[in-house]
Chain length 641, copies 2
């Protein structure tokens, strides 16, 4: 009997000691980080509301109980019974029975009402029908991404169960190493922004954190081929942890599967969905620009299939000697500060990913409170000594003012924006301003991936700022559903109509005017001197957005209908910039994050910033807080224990 099977036997013994004698445990299995308990008495199991919690705390593992297939109420009967238990207001839109595992997936508009207080409604369901309910939210705005991911996972259920069982046995394998050490190797995003990738390794385990590309620098991918990464074989990586879906962190994750990786990806559920959306778009853009994409869409599906979603705060075994906990990072939907607890109290490392320290309209500020943490790997995008941003209130006032000045003159406001995060932030500002009468009610047109990204945001309100959640949950006034928001889904015709119409606001990708529908909008309204182009996000060196900011007004518009010949557009509209809407903490925010961090880390690695930013921040943290700080280069390895 293998060590893992022995361990499962032991767990089964311990469970049997804890459950009442009338409950029969028929099997115990690992499924990813969870222990799944199969029982012929699911109803009895569900009667003791505290039993699962007691087991979890005794075994220090996550526990799921599932019915033995032969004790299940038939689906037709069960469906009626379930509908009976769940209040009508919950808005159940789908019930999906999986006889193989005894799970029933309930899609509802109000998942909270399906769950009930402390899970009481769920338990009631099991007591009635034996099935184990799992609840997902019906997206309030239809999201192709969410429904594609859900359908795909449904279809791949069996393979996914195999994957999860394999991963589970891998996580709970016997520890082989007789040494103890903790190291971080840097594979990218050191003294640069882009291609985030780190290896966290112990004598037992290797974990890859992020695997992004470097936008605008083709070919500069993370150093995946070195021996400490994939050089010794992709199967030597135990786990991949993704802090958030931005492409500079996620773009090359599917490539790992092409290289033979077959293990889990840990991230939040919204990160999984946004990752899929952005990666497919990444392939699309590559193809459109005539580049060979580094992988095919098949590999994006592999990535999704291998994702094990975690919620903020869940402490999860991801290797025999590593526990992972994700915490809100305040940067984009589902973004996570990733905390690793290594060994039995041996060492703790937190990777900030990208963070926003202060609350924004969209998100709570980043969590910086941990049970323990000795080393922090900290993003430094705005770590430079002068990288201070306008505060949010001033920024909002300025945005409202520029909108009013424009629409008063009968013009239109065109805002290039990133689909994920910044667009939703601006939408919230606009919605509030119209509600309060600070700007007139007028159409806000959303073009490019913005609508889809917004739909994903509304699917996971738990990841939004507290009071925004409350509005969505309790007051039934989801701001994203405001009638002013219009999805541009009618192509050029619709754009022409908008251009011919009255005052309005247009939010369109790409955020740095490097392609996408914004180019079309420039053709439609760029020559209108009454209208205004308003930048609300960082415009990188070399982008058209930056050039326009700098005063260029001869804009090359590549019109593919015109045999690819360059056409030049004379920009007549006004150009303004409103800063302060960044998803990144500014220099002050980064310092505050560290200063108020609990506990204060001993060492900080400053990464994800250009040379000057990481050096400035590293030196400031050293001098102000007396920590050991580093500004690593790519391809280095630091040992901590």
């Amino acid at each position: 009997m293998s060590a893992v099977d022995k361990q499962l036997e032991q767990i089964r013994d311990e469970i049997e000691q804890e459950v009442p004698p009338d409950i029969h445990v028929s099997d115990v299995k690992y499924e990813g980080p969870e222990v799944v308990v199969y029982t012929q008495h699911p109803k009895e199991f569900a009667q003791d509301g505290d039993l699962v919690r007691r087991l979890a705390s005794k075994l220090r593992k996550r526990i799921t109980v599932r019915p033995d297939p032969n004790v299940l109420t038939p689906p037709e009967e069960a469906e009626a019974a379930i509908q009976n238990v769940i209040p009508d207001d919950a808005g159940v839109t789908d019930l999906d029975f999986h006889a193989d595992t005894g799970e029933v997936v309930i899609e509802a508009e109000k998942p909270g009402m399906v769950i009930g207080r402390h899970g009481s409604t769920l338990r009631e369901i099991t007591q009635e029908v034996g099935w184990t309910p799992e609840v997902v939210r019906t997206p309030p705005i239809e999201s192709a991404t969410v429904s594609n991911v859900r359908n795909f996972l449904k279809q791949e259920r069996e393979e996914r169960r195999d994957i999860l069982e394999r991963v589970g046995r891998q996580i709970h394998r016997e520890e082989m190493a007789d040494e103890q050490w903790v190291r971080i190797s840097t594979l990218g995003c050191c003294r640069e922004v882009g291609r985030a990738a780190f290896i966290l390794s112990t004598a037992e385990t290797r974990i890859l954190i992020d695997c992004g590309d470097k936008p605008g620098a083709e070919g500069e991918v993370p150093y995946l081929q070195v021996p400490e990464a994939l050089g010794a074989g992709a199967t030597n990586i135990d786990a991949v942890v993704l802090t958030h879906a931005h492409l500079d962190h996620s773009a090359l994750i599917p490539l790992l599967f092409k290289y033979g990786y077959d293990g889990p990806i840990y991230c939040t559920e919204p990160t999984r969905d946004l990752m899929g959306l952005l990666q497919l778009d990444y392939l699309d853009v590559a193809t459109k620009e005539g580049r060979t994409p580094p992988y095919q869409s098949e590999m994006v599906r592999e990535a999704i299939k291998h994702t094990i979603p975690l919620e903020y705060g869940d402490v999860t075994d991801i290797a025999p000697d590593v526990k992972l906990t994700l915490h809100n990072a305040g940067h984009i939907l589902g973004s996570a500060v990733s905390h690793f607890h290594i060994g039995d109290g041996l060492y703790n490392v937190a990777f900030s990913g990208d963070i926003h320290y202060d609350d924004t309209r969209l998100f709570n500020g980043a969590v910086n409170d941990f049970p323990r943490v000795e080393t922090l790997v900290l993003e430094s995008t705005y770590g430079g000594r002068n990288d201070y941003q306008t505060d949010q209130e001033d920024s909002e006032r300025k945005l409202i003012d520029v909108i009013n000045r424009t629409t008063d003159e009968g013009g239109k406001v065109l805002i290039p924006a990133f689909a994920v995060g910044r667009s939703q932030e601006i939408m919230l500002v606009l919605e509030k301003a119209m509600r309060n009468g600070e700007i007139e009610e007028m159409p806000v047109h959303l073009d490019g991936m913005i609508w889809e990204a917004t739909a994903i945001h509304t699917t996971y309100p738990e990841y939004l700022r507290d009071d925004l959640q409350n509005r969505i949950f309790h007051d039934d006034e989801n701001p994203f559903l405001a009638e002013e928001f219009n999805h541009i889904d009618g192509g050029e015709d619709e754009r022409q109509e908008v251009a011919d119409g009255g005052p309005c606001i247009i939010l369109s990708t790409s955020g740095m005017v490097t392609g996408g529908p914004i180019m079309s909008w420039l053709r439609h309204v760029g020559t209108d001197p009454e209208s205004r182009l308003v930048f609300v996000g960082y415009q990188a060196q070399g982008t058209l957005g930056r050039r326009i900011q700098n005063g260029w007004d001869e804009i090359p518009i590549n019109d593919r209908g015109n045999h690819g010949r360059a056409e030049t557009l004379q920009l007549e509209m006004d150009v303004e910039t409103v800063d302060g809407f960044s998803g990144h903490a500014d220099r002050q925010g980064l310092e505050n994050f560290v200063r108020t961090m609990n506990p204060r880390p001993e060492k900080v690695l400053c990464v994800h910033g250009d040379e000057r930013s990481v050096q400035d921040l590293s030196s400031a943290l050293y001098h102000e807080y007396n920590m050991r700080t580093f500004a690593p280069k790519n391809l280095e390895t630091f040992r901590f224990k």
Copy 2:
């Protein structure tokens, strides 16, 4: 045609352009780092004394010319002709003809006379008989190690040629990497002494420098299993470079072959022989102490078979992007500061290995003059702020004095000493003192591996200090052949005789009184209050030597004849310590090495010293010379380019 074969074609073309039209080149091959040119006109080739040098400088490669087998004078005839060319005084002791390669190995007491001025006699030989002569020295003291190694290599000639051809093609392979970087990974001997092992890596190449054990700390071997070392497979290592034969640098090299390594080991010729001697002794000791040796003697032979000996100063291609040059390190016979020139002027790293900065009686001081060097990896054994040693002259005076005091009273002087290096140093001091009448002429008995190690020293006088070489070469007064030196080869009987005899000096291993014949000598003379035990080398914590130094006089003597029961000896002899004979630079020497280094390196990694030593030295070099200094931990990786 492979890229390597194409390159060989090209080289052949270039050679044919350079040689006179009457010389026909029949083949060009790689053999290790050398280009071997086969010709049907070896005699004509040898006529132009400058031709090979011109080819080497044109091709920037090491060139060897060999005759086509079918143009060779038959060995019987050739032997007579060769004997005729070489002066009788050369003392030829063996001629060995290898028809497969047209080489004739000439063993002679005076190799210089076989070579002739600028190689003139060698060329004369080839002109006479066509064969390519190779000269080795007849050991003036018979050395089992040297003759075993030479016989073994003769016997394995064919396989060795295969290895060399494979290595040669590997060295001259086409460069595949499109990136450029230079890194050092630390696998051992950081913040500790022992288990020296580093990986020097580029995008193209991985080189292992040293692979030693940690004496007294069983199980603390270098971190070979990490991916940047052998974790990705032993065959991913391009080359092993051995700085010197001490076991803390060489002990685990044979293990690499057990792990599947099949590439070259670069070191000096004496290092190869001493390595063999010490490794076999290492296996012996392990077996005697009841430990399982990590490899068998078969693997020591593999290591010797894969060794490519280099001379000091030879610039050698060891990878497509790495050139290695070994320089005298002044530490032990054949010890080398290893200089790596990477890329086409990309970067230069020097590994000091163990060094002695000042001249000693035995060796010239370490070389610290390089064409370029940006990073120095520096041993720090005596890097602590108070690690200053008595200077050599005072030490010698003190040693002479203690000997005279002892022998005047009719006692014997017992000196525990390391077989390699320190023993020969003391031998030279004693020989000179007797020659000068500073001490009486009396027998100096050499026990343990000292005699054998001395024999190896006399085989390679080119590696000894200039004036010592001169004495051996020109004045025919080899101090190691002094009649006072007696090899204890008669076991206990001879020791008893010596003990019963008059005043004398006994040099015996082990140097730290941890086993070996010194234990027997303690039984024989330890109870004699007229005699003296004199320590001339460092006694590590935990060794019996250290305890005796500290005043212990109840010595446990494990007598295996006595059923393994511990016997206690009451030490009656006087105990004295004479320091200053270390093979390591002291703190001043280390600073001098760096201060006078040309060019001054930008960065220094302080290794091979305990925590305090590396920190002290690192901090001193930083403050005094304003270099970037580091005291790495094991398992870290530093990037330099």
